[in-house]
Symmetry: none
DNA sequence: CAAAGGTATGAATATTCTTTCAAATTACCG
DNA sequence: CGGTAATTTGAAAGAATATTCATACCTTTG
């Protein structure tokens, strides 16, 4: 049932990012009403695979959060069809030392950077976005070819 | 016993950021050897206050992690302790281009960087912390004097 | 000083989560 | 098509974590 599992994982991501759930049992109920009945044991495995972790929100409640939400505030605050943006968003890439400087259309830098963060590219320590520029900090010794491919190729 | 608790919290942050622990019991042992014996119940409360959450690392292991670049509200009691850290945490500051490189005692970089993030210093685009080094990305044209003051001087 | 109110803590308990194990389903390959 | 390996899953068991409850301790205020 590979197809079913994959769609269930997507549904989980949507539910988790749109609601504040604090137990796997709550999530189980939500999934059931969404038409994907499953057990808590499976959810434990799904959450692990999705790297969704239980964090603490402002009110001190325990809340499941996508890893992207954690990195979210780093760059910007609005999602748009980020994946498409990225594909067509990077105008140029230049390397300098352990940095890569990416140019994007004006105003798009933070979105693209957010997407890069989500991809968790190996060798990339982090990103900082300006308006039309993204600074990508590379690990020492990172292979520029590999990075370049990751930066310009479609995620997932 | 406010002082004891605060220092314990700092020690917890250091331990968590320097090692990969997967249970509160492991952390309990570490704390004991560090001279801060306590119980699992207290750790659960401490981790909640520090907003340390159990995530999934590359190998799929469950690992406690500090909220990396998260800029969340300064919860007053923990914030105070962090400010003190920062005051005495920065060993040196060097500028290069639109970057500032800060040196800290080994293991403290992430804590200090976290504090810097909280201060939201004008002219600072973001920070990346290593073990004993923080990379501060400055806005183009940022005044180094101003930045330097903010980086080393106690706020308020 | 005494009483009141708050914080911190440990022991025990309740809750929540992970993993084991066996079964079922699905993919793979001749 | 078989047959075998790999994946997925639920139930139950086993860990791990959060919370409850009672207590100690500290701080303030009269």
């Amino acid at each position: 049932m590979r197809q079913n599992k994959d769609t269930r994982l997507e549904v989980i991501k949507m539910i988790v990012s749109s609601q504040e759930l604090s137990t796997q049992e709550e999530l189980m109920t939500e999934l059931q009403t969404a038409g994907f009945p499953t057990t808590q044991a499976t959810l434990s495995r799904d959450l692990k695979q999705l790297r969704i972790s239980k964090g603490h929100n402002e009110q001190g409640r325990y809340t499941y959060m996508l890893p992207s939400q954690q990195r979210y505030q780093r760059v910007s605050d609005t999602h748009v069809a980020v994946q498409n943006l990225n594909r067509m968003g990077v105008i140029s890439v230049k390397f300098s030392g352990n940095l890569a400087v990416l140019r994007t259309p004006t105003g798009y830098a933070s979105h693209v950077a957010y997407d890069l963060d989500c991809k968790e590219i190996p060798g990339v320590l982090g990103t900082i976005a300006g308006d039309d520029t993204i600074l990508v900090i590379l690990e020492e010794g990172a292979n520029r070819e590999d990075i370049l491919n990751q930066l310009t190729v479609q995620p997932q």
